[in-house]
């Protein structure tokens, strides 16, 4: 932006975040709760962890909660749509998760927009926090180029050590940045150092060699032996799906109150790795074996949805790898299918 660079001091950042809270807006950020580290609402900026520790769940839960009431009704036949959307700020979201949010935005905005997701999303401000190095050995964002973003948040902070450089992505971001945060305008490129350090930290990692061709390669490998061998190991526990920032399948169920006078329609996270996911009348199961379900899940990431979104739908956050007790990993599967693994790439 016309040679001008913005920076914000650590102190001013915390002051700004507290202003957001004092303004009565909800602020969610990385925080500690007992033994857990997770994204959750905080009441003061000093509860926020600036150093990223991978979380079990991704920030998608703020837009697509685990359980969400979508309708309320009475037995007399009065039905109302329920949308709980509050003005909210999400702070400290990492590049992989920002890619995840972008993919969910596209999926939920498509044709018939999902009213609940979009309402929550519209009322949110997303502040990214860039990574200067890989968060752990399970993460593989670099394989799909998800460590860098071009969209997905309103503004992004880059930790330069003493200060944070700011990149603004949206008008809303620019406006809210000015509203809450004291920033300084610099003429020299304060991002350079950060970018160089980041590039150095990631230099030893490369993308999948045939990243762009993955859909085609997966399409041609529906009968690869990896599906059987990895599928046999699979517990069908569903953990990989629940933790994934880009999985969004859900189940819908009606629940009456105990007085049977009113009720709710609820949608809940569901998981295509579970045996019951594709069962239809007559107990026909369209994906009977774990290998069929695994093939479906991984093809959604690197084939079916990759075609639609124009980028890998696995963002390499590594959550499923951390969660899987039997070490099934999209990275290993992709490397096996592309032949990278055996050639030592």
């Amino acid at each position: 932006m016309n040679g001008k660079f913005r920076k914000i001091s650590k102190k001013d950042l915390l002051i700004g975040l507290d202003r957001i809270i004092n303004d009565g807006r909800k602020l969610a950020a990385l925080t500690r709760k007992g033994e857990k580290v997770l994204y959750d609402y905080v009441t003061k900026s000093d509860e926020i962890l600036m150093q990223y520790i991978p979380t079990v769940l991704s920030p998608k839960k703020f837009f697509l909660p685990q359980d969400e009431v979508i309708l309320e009704y009475t037995t007399k036949g009065k039905v109302t749509a329920k949308i709980e959307a509050e003005s909210m700020v999400l702070f400290g979201i990492k590049p992989c998760d920002l890619h995840g949010i972008k993919i969910l935005d596209e999926a939920f905005a498509e044709s018939n927009g999902d009213p609940n997701y979009l309402a929550k999303r519209e009322k949110s401000l997303i502040i990214g926090l860039d990574c200067s190095r890989l968060c752990d050995e399970k993460a593989f964002c670099y394989k799909v180029n998800a460590q860098n973003i071009t969209t997905g948040c309103d503004f992004m902070l880059h930790n330069t050590g003493i200060d944070f450089a700011v990149t603004v992505y949206t008008e809303k971001g620019a406006e809210q940045l000015d509203k809450y945060f004291q920033t300084e305008i610099k003429s020299e490129n304060i991002l350079d150092d950060f970018n160089q350090a980041k590039a150095a930290a990631f230099s030893k990692f490369g993308t999948f060699k045939q990243l762009k061709q993955l859909p085609e390669i997966f399409e041609n490998n529906k009968n690869h032996s990896v599906w059987q061998t990895e599928g046999d190991k699979c517990l069908s526990c569903g953990s990989c799906i629940l933790v994934c920032p880009t999985c969004y399948c859900f189940d819908v169920a009606d629940e009456m109150a105990l007085n049977l006078k009113k009720g709710e329609r609820i949608r809940r996270w569901d998981a295509c790795m579970l045996n019951s996911f594709a069962v239809v009348a007559g107990n026909d199961n369209f994906r009977e074996e774990p290998k069929d379900r695994l093939k479906h899940r991984i093809n959604r990431k690197f084939n079916y949805l990759m075609k639609k979104h124009g980028e890998s739908v696995c963002v390499g956050c590594g959550r499923c790898v951390r969660a899987c007790l039997v070490n099934i990993s999209p990275k290993t599967i992709a490397e096996t299918i592309t032949g990278e693994l055996s050639t030592g790439g």
Partner: protein, 251 residues
């Protein structure tokens, strides 16, 4: 529409599940009683009420004389529900099945072992047809309420058929395997909101397995996390004696 008549019956059990069922807030209790007629506990015990719409059976079958009593209840009930782990899987009572009959008879009545009439412990579904299951040791009160509602509304009394890990992840727990413990969660039926792993414990399988557990994989996981075969079957033991698949496949 007359309110469905609901009765509780108990066989070998601690009656903890019955207590869990009525562990409702007063207004919820009133709502429940507006929806169903709970036949007085005493009436149920003396078995005076002729027919029941919903019979909730707590406990497992451990004596020959239990069988005709259970069959009689079955004949007089429209819907029969196995209520709690003892009824659903045999529960803790089935632990004795791992021992010889003489041994546990002696253990209970050292002076007069034969006084104790006993058979292999069985789950309710091994003796009569069961229409619905409410698993758990103890049962989950909200699940009990939901099943009763479903039956009253004419919906299938479905319970989740996916792993405890699903609920555990939804709660954002750190997996207990990362904390050096072992857990049966991946093969056990959810519905308890992953109560044990969410509260410092691990899942020991009180709700029984999902329909298609991958027991080979579960065994590999346990071994990978340094649990010997004996220790592992011991973990499966507590609630899964009647699930022969578990021992066949684990062995």
């Amino acid at each position: 529409m007359a309110k469905p008549k609901v009765a509780f019956f108990d066989f070998a059990s601690c009656e903890g599940c019955q207590l869990s069922a009525i562990d409702l807030a007063p207004e919820q209790m009133l709502d429940l009683l507006n929806v169903v007629d709970i036949v007085e506990f005493r009436e149920a015990i003396s078995e005076k009420a002729a027919k029941y719409d919903i019979a909730l059976i707590e406990g497992s079958i451990t004596r020959d004389c239990d069988v005709p009593r259970l069959q009689d209840i079955r004949n007089r009930s429209k819907v029969l529900v196995a209520f709690g782990a003892c009824a659903h899987t045999g529960g803790i009572n089935a632990l004795k099945n791992f021992q010889k009959k003489e041994d546990y008879q002696k253990a209970v009545y050292p002076t007069d072992p034969l006084k104790y009439e006993t058979t292999v412990t069985r789950a309710i579904s091994e003796v009569v047809q069961v229409d619905a299951f409410i698993p758990g040791c103890p049962i989950n009160t909200m699940e009990f309420v939901r099943i009763v509602k479903n039956l009253v509304l004419g919906k299938r009394p479905d319970i989740p058929d996916y792993s405890v890990c699903v609920e555990c992840k939804k709660n954002e727990n750190i997996c207990v395997y990362e904390k050096g413990m072992h857990c049966l969660g991946p093969v056990i039926r959810a519905g308890c909101d992953a109560k044990c792993p969410s509260n410092g414990g691990y899942c020991y399988g009180c709700r029984g397995t999902v329909t298609k557990p991958n027991l080979h994989a579960q065994k590999d996981v346990m071994q990978k996390y340094n649990l010997t075969f004996d220790q592992m079957t011991d973990q499966f033991k507590l609630f899964l004696q009647r699930n022969r698949e578990v021992f066949k496949n684990a062995g």
